[in-house]
C-alpha cells in the first residue's frame, strides 16, 4: 500500500513538473527554440532531428533500466541466470543500432556543418548589408562601412536581407551571439571572423558576448533590431545627422574599459576604422 502511494505521488509530481514546464515554455520567449532567423531556424531543426534520432536509443535504455530493476529485484522470484554473460544477437543490436544512428547523424553533421558554416554567405538575391563588429571592454562597437556610421551596443538592419558581420576584438576573446537569429562565432583580437545572418521578420532581438572577457563581460549586451527596408534607411539617416563623430581619438577613449554602456550612435566615422583597429596588432601598426 505504501509503495503504491509513493508511486502515485511521484507520478503526480512528475506530471506537475511537466505541466509547469509546458506552461513556462509557452509563456516565455525561448530564442533558440523560437527562432526568427534563416540560420537559427535550421539550427532548431537540427536540434529536433538529432534529439529524435537519439531517443531511439535513449528511451529503450531508460525503460530497460526501470524494467530490469523492477523485474529482477531480489525477492521477486524472477529467473536467475548467474553465469549468463554473452549473447551475440544482443551485442549485435547494441553495437549495430547505435552505429546506424551515428552514421545517419554523421551525414547530417557533414551536411549541416557546411550549410550552417558562419563563414558561408547567404544569397537570396538581395544586396547584403555589411556590418563590422568590434568587441571592446565591455561593449560592442558596430561599424557600418558602407553607410559611414557606427553604434555602440545597438545594431539595426533590414529584415529578409543577408547581413555580413565581420568581427574582431580590441579586447580579450569574446563571442558574438544573437541567439534568435543564429549561432555564435568568436571575436578575437588581431584577426577577423565572420558570420552571416538573416532575419526572417522584423523584431527586436538580444545579442551578447558568450565568452568571458573580464569584469564587465556580463554587461556586453546589445540590441539587434530588424526593421523593414524603409525604416532601416530612415534610421541610417537619423544616425548620420546625429552629429557625433567616431574619430580615432574618440575611439581610443571608447576602448577604455567601461561597463553596461548606454547605446551610442556616431554619424561620422574615421576612415577605414575597422582596418585601423586590426593594424594595431600588426608590426606596422605597433605604436609601442
Amino acid at each position: 500500500m505504501k509503495r503504491a502511494f509513493k508511486i502515485i505521488i511521484i507520478t503526480l509530481l512528475i506530471i506537475a513538473v511537466g505541466a509547469l514546464t509546458v506552461y513556462f515554455v509557452s509563456t516565455h520567449n525561448i530564442p533558440v527554440l523560437e527562432p526568427k532567423g534563416l540560420i537559427s531556424v535550421k539550427e532548431r531543426e537540427l536540434i529536433i532531428t538529432s534529439s529524435l534520432l537519439m531517443l531511439i536509443v535513449v528511451i529503450p535504455v531508460l525503460v530497460l533500466a526501470v524494467v530490469f530493476g523492477w523485474k529482477y529485484r531480489e525477492g521477486r522470484g524472477s529467473k536467475h541466470a548467474p553465469d549468463w554473460e554473452h549473447n551475440n544477437i544482443a551485442e549485435c543490436c547494441w553495437w549495430g543500432v547505435p552505429v546506424v544512428i551515428i552514421i545517419i547523424l554523421a551525414v547530417i553533421t557533414w551536411k549541416t556543418s557546411h550549410d550552417l558554416n558562419p563563414f558561408k554567405p547567404i544569397q537570396n538575391g538581395t544586396t547584403p548589408v555589411k556590418i563590422q563588429a568590434v568587441a571592446l571592454d565591455w561593449k560592442w562597437l558596430f561599424i557600418y562601412p558602407d553607410q559611414g556610421i557606427a553604434t555602440v551596443n545597438y545594431v539595426q538592419f533590414p529584415e529578409k536581407t543577408p547581413i555580413d558581420f565581420v568581427i574582431t576584438a580590441d579586447a580579450p576573446m569574446n563571442s558574438f551571439w544573437i541567439p534568435q537569429l543564429g549561432g555564435q562565432i568568436y571575436a578575437m583580437p588581431a584577426m577577423t571572423t565572420s558570420i552571416h545572418l538573416l532575419a526572417n521578420e522584423t523584431g527586436e532581438f538580444e545579442g551578447r558576448s558568450a565568452n568571458i572577457s573580464g569584469k564587465g563581460f556580463a554587461g556586453m549586451i546589445f540590441k539587434a533590431v530588424a526593421s523593414n527596408k524603409q525604416d532601416f534607411q530612415n534610421w541610417v539617416q537619423y544616425v548620420k545627422s546625429s552629429g557625433k563623430e567616431l574619430s580615432w581619438d574618440i575611439y581610443t577613449q571608447l576602448v577604455e574599459p567601461s561597463e553596461y554602456n548606454d547605446v551610442e550612435i556616431y554619424g561620422k566615422i574615421e576612415d577605414q576604422l575597422f582596418d585601423q583597429i586590426l593594424i594595431q596588432y600588426m608590426p606596422e601598426g605597433n605604436k609601442k
Binding site: 533558440v32 537540427l46 530493476g69 541466470a81 554473460e85 547505435p98 568568436y186 573580464g214 564587465g216
Partner: protein
C-alpha cells in the same frame, strides 16, 4: 626588487565575504591543528599517515583531501546559485563581478582537479594493488610524492582566499584574458602553479599505476582475467601519460608569457591565443575521460556483485574501453567549434565525437544486461548506479547534440553546456565515486556504512541534481550564457535560476546526509564490524583479504586461474591452503614526499608573488631532497614470517 617580490599589505585586503571565507578557513585549520595537538596525535599522523608509502593510506589521504575540496567547491556552487538567483535587472546581487568570477574559476579548478582527480587517484590507490594481487604499487615512494604534490597544488585554492586573489578567467584560463596584458595580477599565477604542481603529481601517478598493472599482477592474472576496474585504470593512466605533458607544456608557456614576457599566447607580437585553446583542450578532452573511465570501472565491479551475476560481455567491455581511450585523443576541437576552424574540420571532429557514444552505449547496455536475470539488491552502491544511468545518459545525449557543430553554435558556452557537463561529471564521475565509496568503505575501515542514511543521501543528490541542472538546459535555449554575474530582468530567466538554487540546496542536504552517515557509522563502528572481509559476497581479490587488509595486503600472493578470481575460489570451496609463511619485503616510510610537497608549495607561492630568491632556494631544496634520497641505503625492510603469521591468525580469529 623588494625582498617580498610584489607581496604587500594589499594582498590581505578583501571584501567582507572574502574576509568571512578567509577567517573560516584559517579558523577551521587552527581548530584542526589545536585538536590534533590536544590529542597528542602529531607523531601518529606523521608516522602512520604523512610519511606512509602504503597505497591504502595514500588512497585515504587523497579522498580526505578531496572531501574537503568538495565542500569548498559545493560552497562555491551554492554562492554562484545564490548570486544568479538574485542578480537580475536592477539588483546586482551580493557578489561583485570580480569576486563572482573568481568563485566560478575556483569552483571549476577545485572540482576537476582536486575532487575529480583526487577521488580517481584515491580509489585507484586503494583498490588497484589488491585487485591484481599485489602488495603495493610499483613505486611506493613516488606514490607518496605524487600525493603531496597534489595536496600542495590544492592548497593554493585556500591560500588565495586569504593572500591575494584567485584567477577570474574561468577554469581553462584562456589567453589573452589570462595573459599579462589583461590580468597582470596574481590570480592567474595561483591558477598556473596550482595546476602545474598537482599536474606533476598526476603524471607521476600515471606512470606508477601503468607499471603496476603491467608488471605486478599476481601469478595467473593474465590481462583478460583482470577485473574491468583494472582495465579502466589501465586506460586511464595511458591517457594521463599522453595527455598531462601537454598540459605541462601549455601552461608552462603561459607561465613564461607571464613571468618572462614571452609572446607565445599574446594577441600581438605574433602570438597565437587560438593555439592555447587547441593545446589546452588536447589535454582537456582526455582529462574528462581520465575522470570518467574509472567510474565506469567502478560500476563494472558494483553491478555484477549486486546483481549476483557475472558481468555481461567482458570482452566487449574491454574493447569499448580501448576504443573510448583511442577516440578521446581525436575529438578535442569540439570544445571550440565556434572559434571558426571551418566546416570540414568542424565536421570531422564532430563526427569523431559522436562515435564515442557507440562504445559508451555498449557499456551501458552491458551493465543493464548484467542486471537481466540477476538477483538485484538495491544497496546504496547500486542506487548510485541507477542514478548514473538516468543522469549520465541524458548528459550523453545532450553531448552528442553538441557534437553537431550547427547545434553547438547556439549552445556553446551557454548554460545548456553547463547542464551537459555537470550531468556527465556528477552523474558519471561523482556518482561512480560515491558508489565505489559505499562499496569499498567496509574493506578499508573494517566496518560498514549506515545504509539508511546512505539512501537518503542518494535520493537528495539525485532529485537535487535534476532540480538544479535540468532548468539550465532550458536557460541555455533561452540565450543564457555561462559565467554571468548579472542578467537583464523580465526575460524569464530568474524563476529558472531560483529553481536551480533549490536544487543546489537539495544537493547540500544530500551532502549533509553523507556527513551524518560517516559520523554515525564511525560512532557505531563496533556494532557494524566487517568480520569476514567479504560483506557483499564480492567477486574480485580485494575481498579475499581481511577488513582492513594487513599493511602487506597478502600473506601469500594469490594464484589466479580465471576472471572473478575470488568468486571462483569461493565456488570451488577450496580451503585456504596452509602454506608456510615467509618474510615479506616492504618499503619503509619516508618524509621525502612531505618535504617535496612543502617545498613545491612554497616555491609556487614564491613564483606567484615574484619572490624569486625564495623560488630559487625552494627549487634547489627539492633537488637536494631528491639527491639526498639517492644516498639513503635503508629504504626497505623485511617483515618476519612469525609476525606475518601472528597478524594473519589474529584476523582470522575475529
Amino acid at each position: 626588487m623588494s625582498l617580498f617580490g610584489r607581496l604587500g599589505e594589499h594582498a590581505l585586503k578583501h571584501d567582507w565575504i572574502e574576509y568571512a571565507a578567509g577567517v573560516s578557513i584559517v579558523g577551521g585549520a587552527l581548530v584542526v591543528i589545536i585538536l590534533i595537538t590536544y590529542l597528542k596525535k602529531w607523531g601518529w599522523l606523521w608516522r602512520e599517515w604523512f610519511t606512509s608509502v602504503d597505497h591504502k593510506k595514500i588512497g585515504i589521504m587523497y579522498i580526505v583531501f578531496s572531501a574537503i575540496q568538495l565542500a569548498k567547491g559545493l560552497i562555491d556552487g551554492l554562492m554562484m546559485r545564490a548570486q544568479q538567483a538574485t542578480a537580475s535587472g536592477d539588483c546586482m546581487g551580493y557578489l561583485g563581478a570580480e569576486h563572482f568570477q573568481q568563485i566560478f574559476t575556483a569552483h571549476g579548478v577545485t572540482m576537476i582537479f582536486f575532487v575529480g582527480m583526487g577521488v580517481v587517484f584515491g580509489i585507484i590507490n586503494l583498490v588497484l594493488p589488491l585487485q591484481i594481487g599485489a602488495r603495493d604499487v610499483a613505486f611506493p615512494l613516488l606514490n607518496s610524492i605524487s600525493f603531496w604534490l597534489f595536496a600542495a597544488g590544492g592548497l593554493y585554492i585556500f591560500i588565495s582566499l586569504v593572500i591575494g586573489v584567485f584567477a577570474g578567467t574561468g577554469w581553462t584560463a584562456y589567453p589573452p584574458l589570462a595573459g599579462l596584458k589583461y590580468n597582470p595580477g596574481v590570480g592567474v599565477d595561483y591558477w598556473l602553479w596550482s595546476i602545474q604542481i598537482s599536474g606533476a603529481g598526476s603524471l607521476l601517478s600515471g606512470i606508477n599505476f601503468l607499471v603496476t598493472i603491467l608488471k605486478m599482477r599476481c601469478p595467473g592474472m593474465k590481462l583478460m582475467r583482470m577485473p574491468v576496474f583494472v582495465w579502466a585504470t589501465l586506460a586511464t593512466v595511458v591517457l594521463v601519460i599522453f595527455a598531462f605533458p601537454i598540459l605541462t607544456g601549455t601552461i608552462g608557456m603561459l607561465s613564461t608569457d607571464r613571468l618572462l614576457d614571452t609572446k607565445i599566447f599574446t594577441a600581438d607580437y605574433g602570438g597565437n591565443p587560438m593555439m592555447y585553446i587547441n593545446l589546452i583542450w588536447a589535454w582537456g578532452h582526455p582529462e574528462v575521460y581520465i575522470l570518467v573511465l574509472p567510474a565506469f570501472g567502478i560500476f563494472s565491479e558494483v553491478v555484477p556483485v549486486f546483481s549476483h551475476k557475472k558481468l555481461f560481455g567482458y570482452t566487449s567491455m574491454v574493447w569499448a574501453i580501448a576504443v573510448i581511450t583511442f577516440l578521446s585523443f581525436i575529438v578535442w576541437l569540439h570544445h571550440f567549434f565556434t572559434m571558426g576552424a571551418g566546416a570540414n574540420v568542424n565536421a570531422f571532429f564532430g563526427i569523431m565525437t559522436m562515435v564515442i557514444a557507440i562504445p559508451t552505449g555498449v557499456k551501458v547496455f552491458n551493465w543493464l544486461f548484467t542486471m537481466y536475470r540477476g538477483k538485484v539488491t538495491f544497496t546504496t552502491p547500486m542506487l548510485w548506479f541507477m542514478g548514473f544511468i538516468f543522469i549520465f545518459v541524458t548528459g550523453g545525449m545532450t553531448g552528442v547534440m553538441m557534437a553537431i557543430p550547427g547545434i553547438d553554435f547556439q549552445v556553446h558556452n551557454s548554460l545548456f553546456l553547463i547542464a551537459h557537463f555537470h550531468s556527465v561529471i556528477i552523474g558519471g564521475v561523482l556518482f561512480g565515486f560515491f558508489s565505489g565509496y559505499s562499496y569499498w568503505f567496509p574493506k578499508f575501515t573494517g566496518f560498514r556504512l549506515n545504509e539508511k542514511l546512505g539512501k537518503y543521501a542518494f535520493w537528495f543528490w539525485f532529485v537535487g541534481f535534476i532540480v538544479a541542472f535540468f532548468p539550465l538546459y532550458l536557460l541555455g535555449f533561452m540565450g543564457a550564457t555561462r559565467r554571468m554575474n548579472h542578467y537583464p530582468a523580465g526575460n524569464g530567466w530568474q524563476p529558472l535560476f531560483i529553481v536551480a538554487s533549490i536544487g543546489a540546496f537539495l544537493i547540500l542536504i544530500g551532502v549533509l546526509f553523507q556527513a551524518a552517515q560517516l559520523y554515525k557509522s564511525i560512532k557505531e563502528r563496533n556494532q557494524n564490524k566487517d568480520t569476514t572481509g567479504d560483506p557483499w559476497n564480492g567477486r574480485a581479490l580485494e575481498w579475499s583479504t581481511a577488513s582492513p587488509p594487513p599493511f602487506y595486503n597478502f600473506a601469500h600472493l594469490p594464484e589466479v586461474h580465471s576472471r572473478d578470481a575470488f568468486w571462483e575460489l569461493k565456488k570451488s570451496k577450496k580451503d585456504i591452503v596452509k602454506r608456510k609463511y615467509e618474510d615479506i619485503h616492504m618499503p619503509k616510510n619516508s618524509m621525502v614526499g612531505v618535504n617535496i610537497g612543502i617545498l613545491s608549495c612554497v616555491m609556487g607561492f614564491a613564483l606567484v608573488w615574484h619572490i624569486f630568491w625564495l623560488a630559487a632556494i625552494t627549487f634547489i631544496g627539492i633537488l637536494i631532497a631528491l639527491i639526498a634520497r639517492l644516498f639513503v641505503k635503508e629504504t626497505d625492510y623485511y617483515v618476519k614470517a612469525e609476525e606475518v603469521e601472528q597478524i594473519e591468525t589474529r584476523s582470522r580469529a575475529t
